[in-house]
């Protein structure tokens, strides 16, 4: 009975238990001298297939082949999210990565813009690496609305059949992209931190964190197209634009569904920000000594386009609200950059930020535990270093 995605050949199984050790999902156990799989737990990651030294395990998963030949799908697309006519930075970051992937794959890179009065974004997108820019410039796309945007993108996909589409994992990107993927009956991997093209299969390898960042998973969409992935802002670097690049702009006019909802009011202010989603966090702890010293952190955060985080001590002391608390009893964050000023790094705090990509710590105690995980650890006086750093960043901006 092919109930489970893997089959263990009783003739070949030698009860060495290597498969049980290899299984990340606890899906295998021994029944006497034969390894047995729990179908409910098995995720067909095939780790056991690879681990068995006797080739006793094989995969039974039937790979569904779509009616439309996969070869019809060509090209890498980047959804260029825009707000009020301005293309978001994440799009440029994705175009840089997209360019690399397109070169590896040997295909075209295109940007897709949905909006109103957005035609002049094309030149910037081409300079950033796009070979083609598809623009749908209509009044009904002026404000993001899930159903309308989904309809637009799916129509384009049906018409042009891209092999890969990338989007920023922003509030907008994550939401409607998931709808697009389901409508296209294809696979979507969210919050990727690494993307590459497999040399043999030419498939997109998508790596992302799961279980709150405690494990990493690499995922592929072998038999469905387009292969879709979202990437968080600031995960990939934006390369320098090349204004000399040439590309094609295609204006599309689409007949779209009417919006199901409308925005009645919009408030934009930085104070509502959720630090758990922030890519840059400037954090302070007990070493700040006084509430007033948080002002400098706020300044630096603003300059870098990030948010302020604190250890529990600052919240207990009443300097700032618990919304900014990072740690076991506060928020868990996974920013690109975590700058820690005057934080010793007790494990309760580390648990909240150890997933950060780059940790820079400044503390005058050389034995502070935070130095154990900091990528760059500075033993020094934060009251000297912080103002100098602010000045230096301001200088760069000018």
């Amino acid at each position: 009975m092919a109930d489970a995605p893997i089959f263990i050949d009783p003739a070949k199984c030698k009860a060495c238990k290597k498969c049980i050790t290899a299984c990340p999902f606890d899906a295998l156990y021994m029944e006497g001298k034969l390894a047995v799989v729990k179908p409910d737990e098995c995720r067909a990651c095939n780790a056991c297939v690879k681990a068995c030294p006797f080739k006793a395990i094989s995969s039974t998963a039937k790979d569904e082949v779509k009616k439309t030949s996969l070869g019809d799908f060509k090209g890498i697309w980047v959804f260029a999210e825009q707000h009020h006519g301005k293309v978001q930075e994440v799009a440029y970051e994705l175009l840089s990565t997209g360019r690399r992937l397109a070169n590896e794959r040997g295909c075209e890179l295109a940007a897709v813009v949905l909006g109103h009065e957005v035609a002049d974004s094309a030149s910037h997108l081409i300079a950033a690496g796009a070979d083609k820019v598809y623009i749908v410039d209509q009044p009904d796309l002026a404000e993001y609305e899930a159903n309308v945007y989904t309809d637009a993108l799916n129509q384009l996909i049906a018409k042009y059949k891209p092999e890969v589409i990338l989007a920023g994992a922003t509030a907008v990107g994550r939401a409607f992209f998931a709808k697009v993927a389901v409508r296209a009956r294809t696979g979507l991997t969210a919050d990727c931190t690494a993307l590459s093209i497999d040399k043999e299969s030419h498939l997109l390898h998508q790596t992302r964190p799961a279980f709150g960042g405690n494990i990493m998973a690499t995922i592929m969409t072998p038999n469905h197209r387009p292969q879709m992935a979202t990437v968080r802002p600031k995960v990939f670097k934006m390369s320098t634009p090349d204004p000399k690049r040439k590309g094609e702009t295609l204006m599309e006019a689409l007949k779209l569904v009417t919006a199901g909802t409308k925005i009645v009011k919009s408030e934009r202010n930085a104070s509502n920000v959720n630090i758990a989603e922030a890519e840059i966090i400037v954090a302070g702890g007990r070493g700040l000594k006084k509430a007033e010293n948080l002002e400098q952190l706020k300044k630096l955060a603003e300059l870098l386009g990030g948010v302020v985080g604190v250890s529990r001590a600052c919240v207990d002391a009443g300097w700032i609200s618990a919304a900014h608390q990072v740690g076991q009893t506060g928020k868990t964050v996974c920013p690109k950059i975590y700058l820690a000023f005057g934080i010793s790094g007790a494990i309760q705090h580390l648990e909240g930020m150890r997933a950060a990509d780059t940790i820079i710590a400044i503390n005058n105690d050389p034995n502070a535990p935070i130095f154990g995980i900091a990528d760059l650890g500075i033993v020094g006086d934060l009251f000297e270093i912080l103002p100098m750093l602010i000045e230096a960043v301001e200088g760069k901006k000018r």
Binding site: E64, A190, A210, G212, N214
Partner: protein, 263 residues
Amino acid sequence: MHIIVCVKQVPDTANVRINPETNTLMREGVESIMNPFDEYALEEALRLKDAHGARVTVITMGPPQADVVLREAMARGADDGVLLTDRAFAGADTLATSYAIAQAIKKINAKPDLVLFGKQAIDGDTAQVGPGVSEFLDVSLVTYVKSVQVSGDTFTVETVMDEGTDVIEGKLPAVMTVVKEASSPRFASLSGWMEAKKTAIPRWGAKDVGATPEACGLNGSPTKVVKIFAPPTKTGGVRMDGREEPAAAVQAILKALQDKGVA
């Protein structure tokens, strides 16, 4: 009004680790909990029940022991619950999960007024199932909801966007995903638990909800997990003494920031 809330039983991921040597999940000592975002979704549903007398049904897809989260939801005030459980569902990615859940919702009520999800599950972290279900139900989607008001068949919600909040209006039915900025979830009272223990929870499999096997579980999942590994452990990198020459330290910090495309 009939509100359906989809909840998930997840491991308390703060404690889940991967053994970097064997690449296996270390789950000893990790307890199962109701997905925290789903608690907020349930709270919004219960507030609407308090205000309008709505019926709240909770549904979860998981192994048989996942019925605990349904009982917990009922102990807090949900009226009834359904457990979607079947070997056929195992190994489902977000597409196959969205499909199965949408089938179950259609069986509970062909026209529910509101379907609520927590923004994301803290194990998968994808935030895709809510939007996926809205597709399969062909119903409006609103994401990152902080509060829900309903008047007749019109809803007004506050949503949390990247740099602020929006107020959005629309007509029911709708699928919404709820964030933690929403109202604090209520506690289950002892008498609530006592009632919940008495309520029967039906179990539905793929056949019961009319889900075609090819679209369920692993077979219905376009995405495949190829590898699982431990994130690189940080062991402390470059150390500098910034006491004598803070200027050099500042330059090092600046460079590190620039290398990452910041500053």
